[in-house]
Symmetry: C2
Subunit: 209 residues, 2 copies
DNA sequence: AGAAAACGGTATCAAAAGTTACATAACTCA
DNA sequence: TGAGTTATGTAACTTTTGATACCGTTTTCT
C-alpha cells in the first residue's frame, strides 16, 4: 500500500501534519483476517495498534468462560496496549479481529514522545483513556447490578442499533461468551423473549421486534 | 494553613517548581469530616480534588445497593473528576470521606492548561487514568468471575495487608455494601469461614487467621 | 437508667443462574 | 449422499444468592 493511501486512512483527529508524517514514517501497516489474535493474555506489548478498518474484540478469559470488555473500531486504539506503552507491562486481555481488519502499529516509545510534541496526539490518548474507562464502568455496573436477561436484551438492542438492522447474526453460544454466561442460559432466556413477542428466533440469527 | 505547609504536603511527583507554585496560587485547601460527601451522582464537576491526607471512598449506587469502585488516597485524584474535567460531564459515582481528610481542589480549566505546560502534571494524569483503569478492571473481573465468598475473603486479606494487621474493623453491613451484596449473605459466609477456621468473629471486627 | 440504634445469628423461602444430559434440525463438505 | 459438525430446544437438578422475618446482645445517647 502506498504511503499516501495510509495517510488518507488515518483518523482525522491527528491534525498536525508533522505528526501524520511521523506516523507514516514510523508506523507499520498490517492486515489481519477474521479471528486472528492481535494480542493475547500475558503478551508483552512493544507496539501500539490503531485500527484503520475493521474491528477488534477485546475480552478477558478465565478457564472456559470469557467476557467482553469492548471493541476497538476504526480510528481507535487498544486501551491495554496504550496502558502497557506507558508502564512496560503485559496484556491481561485478548484482542481478536471480528472481521478482516487493517491495523497501523507503532513502537511504544513513540507514544510518549509524541504526547509531548503533538497536542492532537495527546488529546487522542486522553480521549481513549477516558472513553474506555467509561465503557468499562458501564460494563461493570451492568454486571454488578443487572440480571442476565436485561443484559442480554440490551446487548441485542445495541447490536441492532449499531448495525441499523433488527437481524442479529450470532449464535447462542457466542452470545453466552459475550455476556460471560452459558449457552443453555442464553437459549432459555431467548425462548422467553420469543414467547413475550420481543424477538423471533432462527438458526444463526435473531430477529428483534 | 500557611501556603508553605501546603507546598510541603503536595505529592512529590510534581517536580516543576513553577507547577507547585501555580498549584498553591490557584488551589483551594479544604478539610472534610468522616462521612462527608465530596461528590455525588449527577453532580456537575468544576473542580479537581487531590487528596493530601485521609481517604475518599468512591462507589456507585443503584436503589439501595451500592458497590465499591476504589479509594482515593494520599497524593491521588479522583478519576471521575478528572474525566469530567476533560469533557464537561456529571459524575456517575459518589465520593465520601472515610476519615477526616484534607483535600486540595483546583478549577478544572487548569487541568488542561497544566498538561501542556508541565510534564510531571501530564505524567500524573496518565498514571491516574491508568491505575484507576486497572483497578476497575480488577473489580470487574472479580464481579464477573468470582463467587461472593471468594471476593469477601480477598477483601479481608487486602484490608489486613493494607493495614498490616489481621484485625479488620468493619461491620457486616458495611462489608456487604463494599461488595454489593446484603448483610445476611455476608454474615452467613463469615460464619462459614469461622467454622473453617479462617477467621474469628467479634462484634465490630473480624480477626483474620 | 432506659430507649433507641447498631450489630450479629439464624431459619425459611424464593429466585436466578449454572450444570448435565439428551434430543432434533440444519448445515457442510468430502 | 451420508457422516460429521454446528445450532438449538428442553427437562431435571443443584448451587448460589437474595429476601424476609425474628431473635438476642451490645453500644450509644439522652
Amino acid at each position: 500500500m502506498e504511503k499516501t493511501d495510509i495517510l488518507a486512512k488515518l483518523p482525522g483527529a491527528f491534525t498536525e501534519s508533522a505528526l501524520r508524517q511521523e506516523m507514516i514514517t514510523h508506523g507499520k501497516f498490517i492486515t489481519v483476517n477474521k479471528d486472528d489474535t492481535i494480542v493475547r493474555e500475558g503478551q508483552f506489548l512493544d507496539f501500539l495498534p490503531i485500527v484503520i478498518t475493521g474491528e477488534i474484540r477485546v475480552f478477558q478469559q478465565k478457564e472456559d468462560r470469557e467476557i467482553l470488555l469492548y471493541y476497538v473500531r476504526e480510528g481507535q486504539t487498544c486501551m491495554m496496549s496504550l496502558s502497557a506503552a506507558y508502564f512496560s507491562q503485559t496484556s491481561t486481555s485478548y484482542g481478536v479481529a471480528t472481521k478482516p481488519s487493517e491495523i497501523f502499529v507503532f513502537p511504544t516509545r513513540l507514544v510518549n514522545e509524541w504526547q509531548l510534541k503533538y497536542s492532537s496526539w495527546n488529546a487522542f490518548l486522553i480521549q481513549t483513556f477516558r472513553s474506555r474507562y467509561d465503557e468499562l464502568l458501564g460494563s461493570f455496573e451492568s454486571v454488578a447490578f443487572d440480571p442476565i436477561d436485561k443484559r442480554l436484551l440490551t446487548y441485542l438492542k445495541n447490536w441492532a442499533q449499531k448495525e441499523n438492522s433488527p437481524k442479529i447474526v450470532i449464535s447462542h453460544q457466542n452470545l453466552a461468551y459475550e455476556l460471560g454466561t452459558t449457552r443453555v442460559v442464553v437459549s432459555r432466556i431467548l425462548k422467553g423473549f420469543e414467547q413475550q413477542g420481543k424477538v423471533k428466533l432462527f438458526r444463526g440469527y435473531i430477529q428483534l421486534k
